[in-house]
């Protein structure tokens, strides 16, 4: 992609954010006022948001003309994801208004801003190079933020743990990417709709699968897939890559825990969608079983372990692990359905995306509330510290309950729809007895429902502590920023619960935009014979 006007138009929000972040870094030497830099960052986000929304319309025109392909992709998922990423950045900046350390406020704000840029780029990365770099642009600021969280030993330990395990996971991811690249011979992920001029991994691998000698490359493809999955599964904290999560969440601040629970998870899910579900057609055949087993293990281990926790962040860490498991259900459904009916695959991906949004809202909300309740001296750590919150701060307790109930999937809230779509996908697939997978998906649906019940137990325990225990120590809470963030999340969660249709529609559009596109292979027609054991999965 050459630098032309289109590039600038497409990247304008990111460019503005990078420029402003640099300015904040530099300006930090002029004044170190936390309030000032937070306000500045908020203004930047809002301005960028306006530009982004206007730019989306322009981008839609470009998209319709079908003239674009390259490292940046233009599709509904990317465009919506950017808005969401920007919103996340805004929310976390609001949280920083209270919790950023006074000396390093400008650095913290700007680092979060660059992290947001990374997330926005992940949403649209269409090349292995850019995807890898964007993921790193999320990871590296995260290391810094983890260490900046609090000046104590636990925080340092959390940063060290996350750092070392994260570099291992990115090595895995890279090695996997190297195999994908090696098999396809291009770094572009998919050619999108302008398929005639460019070839991406998706098209190349589809063509490869259609060649009669493809069996030779299967093991390599598999290595690539599993290694890539491992690298990304670390980001979403799926079993067996979840070990870091409880320790790191516990050691760091509530804001950082919120960051870890949402941003890498979103990035990982998006990258998985782009790479595993969309780009690699052969995955459809092999990967759903692994996804399914990992999904079951992840949600079970997450939920069962969470039952024993006393530390709020540790509990939420296990809960976030469990949510990763739920999301993998959607991927398993998408992969299993992709071979025979693309609509089912699109639904599966849409369910994951819906769940992701719903989960992110609730998670940010909970951590915002916890951050609000913390004082200058110490944060909320233990579950007991929340006891009696229902009497001392009923509105905060109500908000936390709303978030937890949403995570538990209690009907009128947003989380219910997320779970509903996911489980419904599995059930629908299990109803299609013509495929061999139905037993597995039936089991998956049953186990998922069981898990939802287990999860409700510990969420209710938190609610019970808040409402049915006598108030413990004085817990006051302060900070306009976290309060605002919490309220925004609460309103969104309730609104999305009452009117899920727009959100579900957006997710469905994004899913359809991704999976619905057909892979056209120029020679598909001429390659006549296909091995009976491996019917080519082209559509």
């Amino acid at each position: 992609m050459l630098a032309d006007r289109n590039t600038v138009v497409l990247l304008l929000p990111e460019l503005i954010l990078v420029a402003m972040a640099t300015w904040i870094y530099v300006g930090g030497t002029i004044t170190r006022s936390r309030t000032w830099w937070v306000l500045f960052a908020l203004a930047t986000y809002l301005a960028t948001g306006l530009i982004l929304l206007r730019g989306n319309a322009a981008a839609a025109e470009l998209f319709a003309s079908g003239s674009l392909s390259g490292p940046l992709i233009l599709d509904p998922l990317g465009q919506t994801g950017r808005v969401l990423a920007l919103g996340l950045g805004l929310l976390f900046t609001l949280l920083l208004a209270k919790s950023a350390s006074r000396e390093l406020a400008s650095e913290t704000c700007a680092t979060v801003m660059l992290l947001t840029v990374g997330l926005m780029l992940v949403c649209r990365a269409n090349s292995l190079v850019l995807l890898f770099l964007s993921l790193e642009l999320i990871s590296i600021p995260t290391y810094v933020l983890l260490y900046l969280g609090r000046a104590d030993r636990a925080s340092a330990e959390a940063a060290a743990k996350y750092f070392f395990l994260s570099i291992l996971s990115s090595a895995m991811l890279l090695y996997g990417l190297s195999f994908l690249y090696g098999l396809a011979g291009v770094t572009l992920i998919t050619a999108g709709q302008s398929g005639t001029q460019v070839v991406g991994i998706r098209e190349a691998l589809a063509a490869l699968a259609a060649t009669p000698e493809a069996a030779g490359s299967n093991v390599l493809l598999l290595l690539g897939l599993v290694l890539t999955f491992g690298g990304l599964a670390f980001k979403i904290a799926a079993v067996p890559f979840q070990f870091y999560a409880p320790d790191v969440y516990q050691g760091t601040t509530n804001v950082n825990a919120g960051l870890l629970a949402t941003v890498p998870k979103m990035a990982g899910v998006l990258a998985m969608t782009r790479l595993l579900v969309v780009a690699v057609p052969a995955t459809f055949q092999y990967a759903w079983q692994v996804m399914l087993v990992v999904a079951i293990l992840t949600m079970t281990i997450g939920n069962v372990s969470a039952l024993w926790q006393h530390n709020v962040r540790r509990l939420l860490a296990y809960s976030s692990i469990a949510h990763a498991g739920y999301m993998l259900i959607g991927f398993a459904v998408a992969l299993a359905a992709a071979g025979s009916e693309p609509a089912g695959a699109a639904d599966g991906v849409a369910a994951v995306l819906l769940y992701l949004v719903v989960y992110v809202l609730a998670a940010v909300g909970v951590f915002a509330a916890l951050s609000y309740l913390g004082s200058e001296r110490g944060e909320v750590n233990d579950l007991e510290e929340l006891s009696g919150l229902g009497r001392t701060r009923p509105e905060i307790a109500l908000a936390i309950s709303v978030f937890l109930f949403s995570m538990a999937g209690i009907p009128p809230l947003a989380g219910f729809w997320g779970k509903f779509e996911l489980f419904a996908g599995a059930v629908r697939l299990s109803g299609r007895t013509d495929s061999t997978a139905w037993v597995w998906f039936l089991a998956l649906a049953v186990l998922a429902a069981l898990n939802a019940a287990i999860a409700a137990a510990y969420y209710l325990r938190v609610v019970g502590v808040m409402y049915f225990r006598p108030p413990a120590a004085e817990i006051r809470g302060s900070g306009q920023g976290p309060l605002t963030a919490m309220l925004v999340c609460a309103v969104l969660v309730v609104a999305a619960g009452l009117l899920p249709t727009p959100l579900a529609q957006t997710a469905a559009n994004a899913g359809r935009g991704l999976v619905g596109q057909r892979v056209e292979t120029p020679r598909a027609a001429s390659i006549g014979q296909r091995e009976p054991a491996r019917p080519a999965r082209l559509q």
């Binding site: 190079v129 260490y147 030993r153 060290a160 890279l174 090695y175 770094t187 320790d247």
Partner: protein, 147 residues
């Protein structure tokens, strides 16, 4: 040259480097050596990528390697700062010291047997002393690791 044979050979070497780095990362306890091992893994990946790129006659592999080097530099910067700060707190580069955050009730890992110091372990490069020998603070000496 036989392109296919070249590719296979390079992939094997890349895989070996990756595996050696992986084993080092898993076995070693020194944080710096762990990081070095991770870099060795990245080296293995780079070798594979360059080989693939040559095989396909495509620039993508080399591009990815350039950026891997850039990212490695970034990670090194962070790693060094982080490791230095961690080492300042404990006086050691041992990753196993950082295990306070764990599941409640789990026993901490402690070394059962510390091996005896042997002669050959004492081999250490020495520099010819030059200038004035710095004064050593005995207190600081205490929380340094003993040999």
């Amino acid at each position: 040259m036989n392109e296919l044979a070249l590719l296979q050979n390079y992939l094997l070497v890349g895989g070996l480097l990756f595996a050696i780095g992986l084993a080092g990362f898993l076995v070693r306890r020194n944080m710096i050596v762990m990081f070095l091992s991770a870099e060795i893994m990245l080296q293995g990946i780079s070798v594979s990528l360059v080989a693939w790129g040559r095989y396909h006659n495509d620039w993508g592999g080399q591009m990815l390697v350039v950026f891997i080097i850039a990212v490695a530099a970034c990670e090194a910067a962070i790693a060094l700062a982080l490791v230095l700060m961690l080492a300042k707190q404990t006086g050691r580069l041992d990753i196993v010291l950082w295990q306070d955050l764990r599941e409640e009730g789990q026993p901490a890992y402690v070394d059962r047997e510390v091996p005896e110091e042997r002669e050959e372990d004492q081999v250490w490069p020495t520099l010819t002393p030059a200038g004035i020998e710095p004064e050593v603070d005995p207190e600081e000496e205490l929380h340094r690791s003993r040999v």
